[in-house]
């Protein structure tokens, strides 16, 4: 039950793009085509889940026992950067087809604030799923990261679908490109507001 609450809350109620504003740059940057948006979402999903597990363990077993919590920011960004490199190398060897599909997006993910954002949220914020406020344990953190990144994929793919249609329309010159995309995102965010209060 608690896992279900985490999943619904992370995908719909607190959607990472439309209500927490993390990872907006790729949301606006690579959402012109549905295929690239899908590729980017897949890569982000993979990296967020993996890096949250790794940074959670590093925080729990290395930084906290040594009293070095203030190094979280530096430690996490280094771990994420290294992890993205490793994922790139491993994918190239194991699954060249997946590497081809995600390839160009992987290096970009290091500076995607969704990844660092989720990693920091999981180790610093208290959650109130299932009654009492508590820090997430490893299982909950993994589910939270996975659900959040699925929410990322959901809104990214929906948005790309809308933008593909927008491209063929006659938009006033000053609205062309980003402004109309932002207004579209605003209407999408309004739709997602409908989920608030569900959990």
């Amino acid at each position: 039950m608690e896992f279900l609450l985490i999943i619904i809350s992370a995908i719909f109620v607190n959607n990472i793009l439309l209500s927490q504003f993390l990872g907006i740059c790729p949301f606006l940057g690579v959402s012109n085509k549905l295929s690239t948006a899908t590729g980017m979402s897949g890569a982000v999903c993979f990296v967020i889940t993996l890096s949250t597990v790794v940074t959670y363990l590093i925080n729990q077993y290395l930084l906290v026992p040594c009293g070095l919590e203030f190094l979280q920011t530096i430690a996490f960004i280094l771990v994420i950067a290294a992890l993205v490199q490793v994922v790139e190398i491993v994918l190239k060897k194991i699954s060249p087809s997946l590497y081809q599909a995600l390839g160009i997006f992987l290096p970009l993910i290091t500076t995607n604030c969704a990844v660092l954002g989720v990693a920091i949220t999981v180790v610093t914020k208290q959650f109130t799923f299932g009654g009492t406020a508590h820090m997430l344990n490893l299982g909950e953190a993994t589910v939270y990261a996975l659900a959040t990144s699925l929410g990322y994929g959901l809104s990214m793919i929906l948005f790309a679908g809308i933008r593909e249609h927008l491209a063929g329309n006659d938009v006033p010159k000053a609205f062309k490109g980003l402004p109309i995309a932002l207004i579209t995102a605003s209407i999408m965010a309004m739709a997602f507001l409908g989920f608030s209060g569900m959990v």
Partner: protein, 193 residues
């Protein structure tokens, strides 16, 4: 370019929000009120100036292959310094801005200026460039914050001048996208050369 021009080009011509379209996450998330927007802008300005100076001093001795990781570590160091300073002196501001202070590390403006300007110019020029871009960022965040605060809660910098509740949607997520979208339209129409 004159020293003054280095600073003023960040206001409109190279405005990080409206012209370069960088650092969208804090722009949308922290502009719920004019004060929050301005504080976020100033926090970014602090990191931007210091990291620009450090990177332009370090650039000649950093090997080309590892320059991005080195820059990220330099930026992350200054962000940690900022986090500790804010926790010590302005804990209320730190807790309002929350997650978005550590996220300055991955703000594309900071790394963008390091790559595009600081690594091939002098320390002094880089400091001015950081200052200009930082002020530009602070200005646009404050403007977005003012508009959202007026529409959403009928006040500016906390001084209430319209009675009643205001349009709640402008303080929440949809308003952020909408205000930024329409401001960008105005910018494209009247200010873009």
């Amino acid at each position: 370019m004159s020293k003054l021009g280095l600073i003023t080009k960040g206001f409109i011509k190279d405005n990080p929000t409206f012209a370069l379209v960088l650092g969208m996450c804090p722009t949308l998330a922290t502009t719920t009120s004019a004060m929050n927007g301005m504080e976020m802008g100033l926090a970014t300005l602090f990191v931007l100036v210091l990291s620009n100076m450090a990177i332009s001093a370090l650039a000649p001795i950093v090997p080309d292959k590892v320059h991005i990781p080195v820059y990220i570590v330099v930026i992350a160091t200054f962000v940690t310094v900022l986090q500790l300073l804010m926790q010590a002196f302005v804990p209320a501001v730190y807790s309002t801005l929350g997650l978005f202070i550590p996220l300055i590390v991955v703000n594309c403006i900071v790394l963008g200026r390091a790559e595009a300007y600081a690594n091939k110019n002098t320390v002094f020029d880089s400091a001015l460039d950081g200052l200009g871009i930082g002020i530009g960022f602070t200005l646009s965040l404050t403007v977005i914050g003012i508009i959202r605060e007026i529409l959403g809660s009928g006040s500016v910098f906390g001084c209430k001048f319209i009675p009643g509740d205001g349009i709640l949607a402008f303080v929440m997520a949809p308003g952020a996208f909408m205000v930024l979208g329409y401001l960008m339209v105005l910018f494209n129409k009247y200010l873009k050369k």
